[in-house]
């Protein structure tokens, strides 16, 4: 940064220009760090992590309560409204996430520099990649296997893939935004993925909810506590 009382005097030499350009790059990097950290700590963090933590636990609960055949246990046919309820919960969480991300975009400084735009682009690709993985593992994959009458595949493997993909996305996000708490959640998701390899099929969803759902809720709580500082002054 420029010293407080430095006055402009004459044209800068080439050496001064190079130093200034390096300084400008450092300044822009600092601005990018502060903006990204603030954005993630205040807007994204508080609600999206809570919402998805609750949604995962709700879906795990509904599955064990009404779809026992999905976890390898016998059960009566669930009422039709349960399926609608599950889709409504998922749609709500998805729409909520999209609306929040759009709000973040709107608050973004338009001329925030190439570094900010590049980071956002990387994050965008990482989370789009995760969404594709999630859809493939939880919806299209089983649909294709069912269509091809392929049986005998441990359903837990899908959730291993889902947990590991989520862990990877969180880990990259943590690196780009320097949010240490996300790195720990990523570790928990990886640990959950490893445990799922050895989990009996009927307990796979429960273990998934325990590690991933709880991981989201804990992250939400930690970040909520951090941003709450601004309301206690």
């Amino acid at each position: 940064m420029k010293p407080e009382n430095q006055e402009s005097a004459g044209s800068p030499s080439q050496e001064e220009s190079i130093i200034d350009q390096q300084q400008a790059a450092q300044d822009l990097h600092y601005i990018r760090q502060v903006i990204e950290q603030t954005r993630w700590m205040t807007m994204l963090s508080k609600s999206i992590f809570f919402i998805w933590g609750i949604v995962i636990w709700l879906l795990v609960f509904l599955t064990y309560a009404f779809h026992l055949e999905l976890v390898g246990l016998s059960s009566p046919t669930p009422p039709a409204y349960i399926n609608w309820l599950e889709w409504a919960i998922l749609t709500f969480a998805f729409v909520y996430t999209v609306v929040h991300l759009m709000r973040i975009r709107r608050h973004r400084v338009q001329d925030g520099g190439q570094a900010i735009r590049a980071d956002n682009r990387i994050l965008g690709f990482v989370w789009i990649g995760f969404t594709v993985n999630a859809l493939l593992l939880t919806y299209f994959g089983p649909l294709i296997l069912g269509f091809l009458n392929v049986t005998g595949i441990h359903s837990g493997m899908r959730f291993v893939g889902l947990s590991a993909s989520l862990a990877y996305a969180l880990f990259v996000t943590s690196g780009l935004n320097e949010l240490r708490v996300l790195k720990w959640v990523a570790m928990v998701c990886w640990l959950g993925a490893a445990l799922l390899l050895f989990t009996p099929e009927e307990w796979v969803l429960f273990i998934f909810g325990l590690f991933v759902g709880t991981g989201f809720l804990v992250t939400g709580m930690v970040l909520h506590h951090q941003s709450k500082v601004s309301h206690d002054g």
């Binding site: 005097a9 044209s11 800068p12 790059a25 502060v34 603030t38 400084v109 941003s227 500082v229 002054g233």
Partner: protein, 105 residues
């Protein structure tokens, strides 16, 4: 290419914004609607006196506005970026970007 050839001199940057603490304050306030003193202090790792000095300089320049109130008998000081401040910050970023582009062959 020198700064002058790129059409910009680094020393022409807005002095009010061009200091790391004030840059940090502005960078936070362009993202969130309002921030309280304690929040800014924790985020930027500054002392009360130091932060107060920088906030006052930004306030005097009309880049931020301050609102003081009491919540449950405790004083609460909220800072918000003004239109003038947001515009100045955008110009500052543009100037930095322009300067960095000047390094490319």
């Amino acid at each position: 290419m020198t700064d002058n050839e790129a059409g910009f001199d680094y020393r022409e940057l807005d002095d009010v914004i061009h200091s790391q603490p004030r840059l940090g304050i502005m960078s936070i306030l362009v993202v969130i609607k309002e921030a309280q003193f304690v929040y800014l202090k924790e985020r930027l790792g500054m002392t009360d006196g130091n932060l107060g000095t920088h906030l006052r300089k930004l306030e005097d320049s009309g880049y931020i506005s301050v609102e003081k109130s009491f919540v449950e008998r405790k004083p609460r000081t909220c800072y918000t970026i003004t239109k003038k401040g947001r515009r100045a910050f955008e110009i500052y970023l543009k100037q930095l970007g322009k300067l960095i582009e000047g390094t490319e062959p």
